[in-house]
């Protein structure tokens, strides 16, 4: 696991993770001051919950995927990947170790968000509080299942096509899945065209993993009998992206 340790140490020394920790852990409290929570006290907690999860999403999309793309590119271009190949670490193993290092910096983000929601923005009624806990736990899990393969994809695409392409591929897919598919449905009137319907159905519907609205309206936890279906859905996407990443990844600049 030398590449894992090297990547983790590099990211740690680069210190940009401090910005993410601040954005997810502190900034939401400041954001509530520019929400209508200042006028209507009942809205302060929903505003905090919404802001912290939104910031976790944005940090993963912008910082997480950018970091993954940067590492993927530099591994291939700097000769590091080639060095590890000569020491017997296969390309697949290299991708896994880099992914694990970057992902370990992303794992705390949803956990911080969930902790803020539970500790600072919990509903006052006891019954709702249990649901709130479950909802936050579910979304932390979904968040990680969604982000994990996109990190690997950013890393793999960047190793072959450069960091800008790698970053844009993953962040584009994430933003498309979170919001774009909804607009696609509105734009395309998908009932009319089989192709548009197929495109819409086969798009990654990441909005299922976006808790901002569910938390704000206190809709309660996702029904536990439906949760495995969501896990299977995102698990399927994870496997496809994992396979794609493995095929795209290369450890040295010249194939």
């Amino acid at each position: 696991m030398r590449l894992f340790r090297l990547t983790a140490a590099t990211l740690f020394r680069r210190k940009t993770w401090v910005v993410c920790a601040f954005v997810v852990g502190v900034l939401p409290f400041i954001f509530t001051q520019i929400s209508s929570g200042t006028e209507n006290a009942a809205l302060w907690k929903p505003a905090l919950a919404q802001a912290t999860w939104a910031m976790a999403l944005l940090c993963s999309i912008f910082w997480g995927f950018f970091t993954a793309a940067k590492q993927g590119e530099s591994n291939a271009k700097s000769g590091l990947g080639e060095y590890f190949l000569t020491t017997g670490v296969s390309a697949g193993r290299q991708l896994f170790e880099m992914w694990a290092a970057i992902f370990s910096f992303l794992v705390p983000l949803p956990l911080i968000s969930a902790a803020i929601c539970v500790l600072a923005a919990s509903p006052s009624q006891a019954a709702e509080r249990t649901m709130w806990l479950a909802t936050n736990f579910q979304y932390a899990v979904l968040f990680l299942v969604v982000m994990a393969p996109l990190v690997a994809l950013a890393c793999a695409v960047a190793s072959r096509l450069g960091s800008i392409t790698g970053f844009l591929t993953s962040s584009g897919l994430a933003i498309y899945g979170l919001y774009g598919v909804g607009y696609l449905k509105l734009l395309g009137k998908t009932g009319d065209s089989a192709l548009a319907k197929w495109l819409w159905t086969s798009s990654p519907h990441y909005h299922f993993a976006d808790p901002t609205e569910r938390l704000r309206y206190k809709l309660g936890a996702i029904a536990w009998d439906k949760f495995p279906l969501l896990l299977a859905y995102f698990g399927g996407i994870l496997l496809v992206y994992a396979a794609l990443s493995r095929l795209l990844f290369r450890a040295r600049a010249t194939a």
Partner: protein, 288 residues
Amino acid sequence: MNPRALMIPSVLAVTGVALWSYGARKLAADGDFDFRPNPLGLKQSPYGQVIALAVQGGIDSDWHGVESAAGKEHYCADCGHNHGDGDDACKPKEISDPDSLLGRLETAVTERTNPQPATAGHKFYLRRQVEDRLKLAYDLDPSNYANYNAYHLFLTEPSVGTRPVITDKVIGLAHTTVTYCLKEDNDPRPALTAASATANILELMFIHKEGFTIEQMKGQLEMLDYTLSKHRVLTSRWKESGDLERISEARRIEMEDRSSFVTKVRDAAAKTIERLSGTSTQISSKTF
């Protein structure tokens, strides 16, 4: 890559596609795929309410642009815009220090120097821009009194709106607004928006009185009374808890003005219904 190394990705891909399509088919069948896109959950959120207020400023200046593009030549000394006949349309622009460098720069970039009046098509385009922004402001915060009423005006008034809609849709919008606003159990202001929306429904009923019964009108009047009483209850609750102090003096006065206005509209509507039920359809809707 040798064939053995290809095995793992292939197995992963096949399993993944199977799971993905199974999940997608199940979720699509349940209708879970249908959702209203709402980036970062901003619409109808505590942040959306603030952004909706900020959008109002932009709408003001857009509308000023539409006004200033009017055909008759009358250039305002204060802002350099062409206001046509309507001198009242212009409020001198508040440039804090007009002689400072920034003040002069602001004047330089905002004054209209084009002597040609805007074409009808251009004015239509500008009005559509305003309408789209109003819709956005409404979507961000349907419970905002100004946003709802301005959007309602654009939908019902053919001289300003660019997409005339049938009365049913306007009434539908008002009903949606009432339902949304009545969910709020703390802030007294959304109840006023609900009252205003109910008054709008009543006004449309009076205009198209042949399509509605007196009972339906009375039902709406009861709803109007309910929304106003909810507003009063929530206001007194906020007064007791001290929460009313959280909102600025200007907003408090604005709320009181709107409350007394809607109350007057309610009284006028009650009289109209009384007359309509007494002397049937001969009473003109103008009494409202």
